[in-house]
């Protein structure tokens, strides 16, 4: 490989990386936007934590851990998909399948997407959290 090519490839990669930052090219991986924690959260805003609970066919309430291993999706991925989930809650079926496969003998009856809300003030946690239900889906 000649020096000219090496120089060209190096500068091109840098150019792509810088352009990705300017255009927020999140999916230009591996040279995409370096946007982890880049978004300036409102210092007086509300922090939302999404989580998932379910009831089993025997009436027991369980929390579905949102990791790829436990549920097939992570919390962030579930939050990214929340809009689609509102339109089509049956997207939760895949998660139920993974969770049930990890818990042989236990079947899920309903699944509930929940959120905890934390109030911030001046960039710090200011009050005890509140809970809300986003949606409930009956597992067929």
């Amino acid at each position: 490989m000649r020096t000219g090519w090496r120089l060209l490839v190096g500068l091109a990669m840098l150019a792509v990386l810088v352009t990705a930052q300017l255009t927020r090219g999140d999916d230009w991986f591996p040279l995409g936007t370096l946007g982890q924690y880049a978004y300036p959260r409102d210092p007086d805003g509300v922090v939302v934590n999404t989580y998932l609970t379910a009831t089993t066919t025997t009436g027991e309430e369980v929390r579905i851990g949102l990791t790829a291993r436990s549920a097939g999706v992570t919390r962030v991925e579930l939050e990214v998909a929340l809009g689609d989930l509102h339109d089509d809650p049956s997207m939760l079926a895949g998660i139920a399948e993974v969770w049930e496969a990890n818990h042989p003998g236990v079947e899920l009856a309903t699944m509930t997407v929940r959120q905890t809300l934390h109030q911030m003030a001046d960039g710090a946690l200011a009050a005890p959290p509140e809970e809300r239900v986003v949606l409930t889906w009956e597992v067929p």
Binding site: V18, Q21, F29, T74
Partner: protein, 301 residues
């Protein structure tokens, strides 16, 4: 005219520098070990995606390669590829092993690991600690044969991939400041005075960060400190010797802190700092120590 020519030559020499060939072998080994740890423990999620293809959200590279949602068979094949490739890279660094082993293993590791990572990033969340390692594992295959014991002999074929890993490692931090600037609407002040750190602590609560999260002054100071540190990363190209070592240790300390506070280890980037470390001196250092110990033993005998 000659000044322009000299500047151009210096520019090219910086981007395509002669760096020790032995360091390529050491950095390859570090990345190979990291790749195995990554697919086993950190980005192990690729293996768990087979049952949720409806969440497949391919990144650009995955779309270019026409990758389908990952299946259990593909994930297993890639897992095997990363393990076999990594072992070959580690063993291939020794002089007695035929060069073919490190070349074949390096290529296998690059293909298997890059595909694993690209699939891992194609389910909605793209992590930004995998930039330097993902590009580096590919570029290191262009360096040719490199052995741990090659000494300080340097050339551009070895230097270029190392320089690119160095640049991308530094850009992981400095580029993130640019991202913050852009996402914050052209104001770093807005980011530094935002609630981002408290938001992060609330999203990933632990005993330590819950002590700090209610203190607005600490939160703000920490955000300014993070910005200053990220902007200081290019000093790695300016500082030499112990000062550079101190800077690298400073960044490792930063990652230890974020690990304790947020559970974020950033190890794929941490490993890439190895491109700045003069590993090529290790064999000579070990030999000198052993010889010294031998002399000591000899003198007491």
């Amino acid at each position: 005219m000659s000044r322009v020519r000299a500047s151009t030559a210096a520019f090219v020499r910086w981007w395509v520098p002669a760096l020790p060939r032995a360091r390529v072998a050491w950095v390859r080994a570090a990345i190979a070990v990291m790749a195995v740890l990554d697919v086993r423990y950190f980005l192990s999620s690729t293996d768990d995606r087979a049952a949720t293809p409806e969440f497949f959200d391919p990144v650009l590279l995955a779309r270019w390669l026409h990758l389908p949602p990952v299946t259990a068979t593909i994930a297993t094949a890639l897992l095997v590829g990363v393990h076999v490739g990594a072992v070959g890279v580690l063993v291939g660094g020794f002089r007695r092993v035929p060069a073919l082993v490190q070349h074949a293993a390096g290529a296998l590791l690059a293909v298997a690991y890059v595909l694993w990572v690209v699939w891992g990033m194609s389910y909605g969340y793209v992590a930004h600690d995998h930039m330097a390692i993902t590009v580096g594992v590919v570029l290191l295959t262009t360096a040719g044969t490199a052995r741990y014991g090659d000494g300080e002999g340097a050339d551009a074929a070895a230097g270029w991939p190392l320089r690119m890993i160095q640049v991308l490692t530094v850009m992981t931090y400095t580029g993130s400041v640019l991202a913050k600037y852009v996402v914050s609407g052209g104001s770093l002040l807005r980011w530094a005075t935002s609630g981002t750190l408290a938001w992060a602590f609330i999203r990933r609560p632990n005993d330590l960060n819950q002590v700090l999260v209610t203190n607005a002054l600490v939160m703000r100071a920490a955000q300014w400190g993070a910005l200053a540190l990220e902007l200081s990363a290019p000093l790695a190209f300016v500082l030499r010797g112990r000062w550079r070592a101190l800077l690298v240790v400073g960044f490792l300390g930063f990652h230890l802190t974020t690990f304790l506070l947020l559970g974020i280890h950033f190890l794929p980037t941490v490993v890439c700092w190895s491109a700045f470390v003069p590993f090529e001196r290790v064999p000579e250092w070990v030999r000198a120590r052993l010889a010294g110990a031998g002399r000591l033993v000899g003198s007491t005998a």
